[in-house]
């Protein structure tokens, strides 16, 4: 026989401590903390941070103590280490680095300005295998004079690779800076997406800014997929958008070359 007291004592002892991983899991799921994991990519080891709302950061890997301190200072949230990225996320980022097609990844961009988010949203519209000048983004988001601020916002992009700031180049046609480990990485990602950065820069130095077709009389930015289909016999280079208009050409509706043409 067992007494009520024995039974109640036995049941009360069934109250135990929760696993240590429980609270961090809850906080990361609701976006009050983040997970992070190292990830080996073709451009070197990266650190990716994310939570239940989306990806928070993609950075060149540094040591964990430095990363956690910088992450807390920047985002106001702790970052907890985990062994691996979730498969879906790892696959998506790997695709990006290797120049794969667009993959849908949720982002958590809380704490950034509307202007920055506008810039990044616009960068997301640039198709794979194409580039646009900083001035193009500025014009497209309705802030044509804010070219320098666009450059700063792209430099602050917390999720490079996912928001393809590598597809935004200087208005003089040179490839420009890259926040994720420097310009060499920018060139190799663009190359993986099917562009030839050296060729682009050489063409830009020779004065090529726009390309038209003398059969359609449509003028494009040089990397626009429509421009890439123009056969050599019908390609007409232009140094300025105004020059193309004077010659009777109209702007391509896909790459909208008039955007930023004045500012550039």
């Amino acid at each position: 026989m067992t007494t009520d007291d024995e039974m109640e004592t036995g049941l009360a002892a069934l109250l135990i401590e929760a696993p240590r991983s429980l609270a961090p899991g809850v906080l990361a799921e609701v976006g009050l903390a983040d997970w992070y994991a190292r990830f080996d990519s073709p451009i070197g080891p990266l650190v990716v941070a994310w939570n239940g709302l989306g990806v928070v950061a993609v950075e060149a890997a540094e040591d964990e103590v430095a990363f956690e301190a910088a992450h807390l200072a920047r985002n106001g949230r702790p970052a907890y280490p985990v062994e691996h990225l979730p498969d879906r996320l790892a696959t998506a980022i790997d695709h990006r680095v290797r120049g794969g097609r667009r993959v849908r990844i949720d982002l958590d961009l809380r704490g950034h300005t509307d202007f920055e988010r506008d810039v990044w949203a616009k960068a997301l519209e640039i198709p794979r295998g194409e580039v646009r000048p900083y001035g193009w983004i500025a014009a497209e988001i309705g802030r044509p004079k804010a070219v320098r601020a666009v450059g700063t916002a792209l430099g602050n992009n917390p999720v490079p690779l996912i928001v393809p700031c590598h597809r935004v180049i200087r208005s003089d046609g040179t490839i420009g800076q890259y926040s994720l480990g420097g310009p060499a990485n920018k060139r190799s990602i663009l190359a993986a997406e099917g562009l030839d950065p050296d060729f682009l820069e050489t063409a830009a130095r020779s004065g090529l800014r726009y390309v038209g077709s003398d059969t359609t009389h449509i003028v494009c930015l040089p990397t626009c997929h429509a421009a890439q289909r123009i056969t050599p016999a019908h390609r007409v280079p232009f140094r300025s958008f105004g020059g193309a208009v004077t010659a009777g050409y109209r702007a391509c509706r896909e790459c909208r070359p008039s955007s930023g043409a004045v500012a550039a």
Binding site: L14, L15, I16, A18, L22, A23, L27, V30
Partner: protein, 199 residues
Amino acid sequence: MDTDDRLIAALAEDLDGSFEALVRAHQDRCFSIALRMLGDPGDAEEATQDAFVRAYRALGGYGPSRIVELRLRPWLATIVLNVCRSRLTRRPSVARGTLSLDVALPSDLEPRTAEARGPVATVEARGAVREWAALLMTLSPAYRSAVVLRHVDGLSYPELAMVLDRPEGTVKAQVHRGLAQLRAAFETAQQREHEEIRA
């Protein structure tokens, strides 16, 4: 003002700034309810996380005036229990309520006071915990939840009535019937043990 009153006031003022304190203060009891309802530590951790995420979203939609009216202990227990119930109904029917009496108890799930009692007592205590945990799983979910909320979590009968959404008299009867079944299961198990020793 007790801890929950302070928590409630803080949640009403700054949900994001005080939600972690809520999780830390209530995670052990919520996890214990889930573990004793579901029987599996991995399932229980997932269910508890799920419950806290739901609590966070609900609090975000409530606004301060509704948050200050909350009674945290029964409110959280209700959410945990709802998550557990839906997990139990999703499980294949063979696993429901027919867990073997000798389910292994991972060493990290022993009662927190066990270590202070010395190795022999620890082994005995771990054995007892395993036994009561296994016996609980033989009860139907309705009786099990009543017994767990009253005797593992320590809710009062008025709180129990809130969580189970039944009159106080009904939940008292559920707890008593649950305990009676538990006692019967305990005695059957003991009898079996004696027979095994004699044989």
